[in-house]
Amino acid sequence: MNVVIPGNTDPAPSVSALAKKRLIVALVLSAAMIVIYFGFMGLFAFDKPLLGTILVPGLSLCIVLGPLVIISSFALCLVYVLWANRVFDAGIRNLR
């Protein structure tokens, strides 16, 4: 655990702490994406009538949810990038 990289006196524990922090954020966001997507696919596979509910003429539940899955993919990416640019990159700068 006490690996020291030449030119850097910082011991390894802070590296693994930051690595762990990034992994947790990454796993939570991945889980969110998986829940959203497979929630949608689960409805598609197992409850087509519900997904096919017509809300107003020209609009069914799946036509609302489908684009929402697409938009939420981008939104989750944006959350990660904002977190990484602000918090994570600052953490890395402290390690260097």
Binding site: V15, V25, S30, I54, P57, G58
Partner: protein, 527 residues
């Protein structure tokens, strides 16, 4: 016909522009770093466009629009599936990949394991993915060009193969990147214009478009059906394959190396996700537009399995010139995608197999470039040959197979290599090989091959003990690959791999300590 002359005119303009780019790039491609990674000098914004260009094949515009036109909402299942893998790449894969690897994702899997076996297994998985995807693209190209321009099938395959050879051989990653950027811009521009022209017929309100569609064909077009994916578990399995297959596609992962650092790689994935998402939302409008304005039967009659939906819609709402433009964009799209695929195949053969397995990591720069160029010619000739040999085959299953293999062979080993200290060489090798083989076997035993390709009646095979009713194997092959990897890691121990985990963690965060990654690779091999 005027429209055909216009298409050919637009297409030649695209070729002239991209060949000029290749000429410009060729003078800047002197090292393997330039050949495979454009010297790491692509900006995140450019790389985002190039990633979108690499990923949006003709299937995205023509195929999905066609499925939406004939099946309504169900086409969106593919659009969504092809997008949700991108956040996974961003969260779990791209930064470690960029900081640890050099040209291919096998760099990362092999980093703290024994180089030769892991790289060889990785090459098997990668080449299988690329091969199936390349065949699918070549066959689709041949049949579409025949349909769009009236050029004979064989000739269109030869033309596409030869032009892609020129891009990759002379311009390497730099030319391929710019070809992708130009193509993605044309595709997005054409798609936005087409969707816009459709909406002008409906007061710019998509709901009026959907309402018109349901008036004409019934509300079923707005509801999920069962024509596109039949079984319940098949739908889930398709979803797994699309999501995690996308996250492990070699030609997509390779783009992590074209930018300056991990932060730039992270940003390029964000941009790509946005571009691909917007594009898929437009394809949905385009598909419904063709359904209402062109008529679903007319699209089906035009041939090509519904693929003519977008071009015919362009003809209806924009006239001959726009039809020509959309046809040329479709051709350009296929050209660019096969170039990207070829380059990642070349990187695997040259960097993983030749340099790191055959030459044990010590090939000179000049030798690597020579091998890369020979491999480019070989893969191009092979692709042309296979494209011609597979004429008339169902291409959807080959593309699906490519995603399944990527998802079962590449994804588990990549994720475990990055996150799990106990991961060992035998586990990595077995996981990749089991993932590849089980995908191939399951597809072979499924209705896709037994019924669609071999032409056996379903009743004759469905009660056989070996029959697999799933058309999409990911739900079995991916967990199998993970299970093999975890089990073998637990029963084997690899002291070096375990010890090097901390070093890799540090490197995942901080990037390469020294500019030369090879020097480190050498010392680790010797130790």
């Amino acid at each position: 016909m005027g429209s055909s002359t216009l298409s050919i005119g637009f297409f030649f303009a695209f070729m002239a522009l991209t060949l000029a780019i290749t000429y410009w790039a060729a003078r800047r491609t002197r090292t393997t770093e330039h050949f495979f990674a454009a010297g790491g000098q692509v900006t995140p914004w450019q790389n985002g466009w190039a990633l979108a260009g690499d990923f949006l094949s003709a299937a995205a515009l023509l195929g999905i629009a066609g499925i939406v036109t004939s099946n309504g909402f169900d086409g969106m299942i593919y659009s969504i599936g092809w997008l949700v893998g991108w956040p996974i790449i961003l969260f779990l894969i791209v930064e470690p990949l960029r900081n640890v690897g050099r040209f291919t994702f096998a760099d990362v899997v092999a980093y703290r394991l024994r180089q030769r076996p892991v790289r060889l297994a990785g090459a098997v998985g990668t080449l299988a993915v690329i091969l199936f995807y390349l065949i699918a693209q070549m066959v689709a190209t041949g049949s579409l060009i025949k349909l769009l321009f009236g050029l004979p099938y064989t000739w269109s395959v030869v033309v596409v193969g030869s032009v892609m050879l020129v891009y990759v051989l002379f311009g390497g990653m730099l030319a391929t990147t710019w070809v992708q950027v130009v193509k993605a811009a044309l595709l997005m521009g054409g798609g936005i214009l087409l969707a816009f022209l459709v909406l002008t017929h409906f007061d710019m309100n998509p709901l009026k478009l959907f309402a018109a569609a349901s008036e004409k064909y019934g509300t079923k077009v707005l509801q999920p059906g069962s024509k596109v994916v039949s079984g319940q578990w098949d739908a889930i399995s398709l979803g797994l394959g699309l999501m995690f297959g996308t996250a492990a596609m070699p030609h997509v992962l390779m783009r992590a190396y074209t930018v300056k650092d991990a932060k730039a790689a992270r940003l390029s994935i964000l941009y790509a996700t946005g571009l691909i998402g917007v594009f898929h939302l437009m394809v949905f409008i385009i598909g419904f537009g063709a359904m209402v304005l062109v008529d679903a039967d007319a699209v089906a009659k035009a041939g090509g399995g519904g693929n003519m939906a977008a071009p015919l819609l362009a003809l209806t709402v924009g006239g001959n010139a726009f039809f020509g433009f959309i046809c040329a964009v479709a051709f350009a799209t296929m050209l660019a995608v096969v170039a990207g695929l070829t380059l990642s195949g070349v990187a695997t053969l040259c960097h993983d197999v030749w340099t790191n397995v055959i030459r044990n990591g010590s090939a000179s720069e000049a030798e690597q470039l020579k091998v890369a160029r020979v491999a480019t010619v070989m893969i191009s000739i092979f692709a042309i040959f296979l494209g011609i040999a597979f004429e008339g085959q169902n291409v959807a299953f080959m593309a699906g197979l490519a995603f399944s293999i990527a998802c079962a062979a590449n994804f588990p080993s990549l994720v475990l290599a990055i996150t799990w200290r106990r991961f060992t060489t035998p586990a990595a090798v077995a996981s990749i090989l089991v993932g590849t083989l089980s995908s191939l076997v399951l597809i072979y035993l499924s209705p896709t091959i037994q019924v669609d390709i071999l032409g056996k009646p379903l009743a004759a095979v469905e009660h056989q003990w070996w029959f697999v009713s799933l058309r999409n194997p990911a739900i079995i092959s991916m967990p199998l690959s993970f299970a093999v990897a975890i089990l073998l890691s637990l029963v084997t121990t690899e002291k070096n791999a375990n010890l090097a985990f901390d070093e890799m963690q540090r490197r995942i965060l901080l990037g390469p300590v020294q500019p030369s990654t090879d020097a480190q690779g050498q010392t680790r091999n010797a130790a």
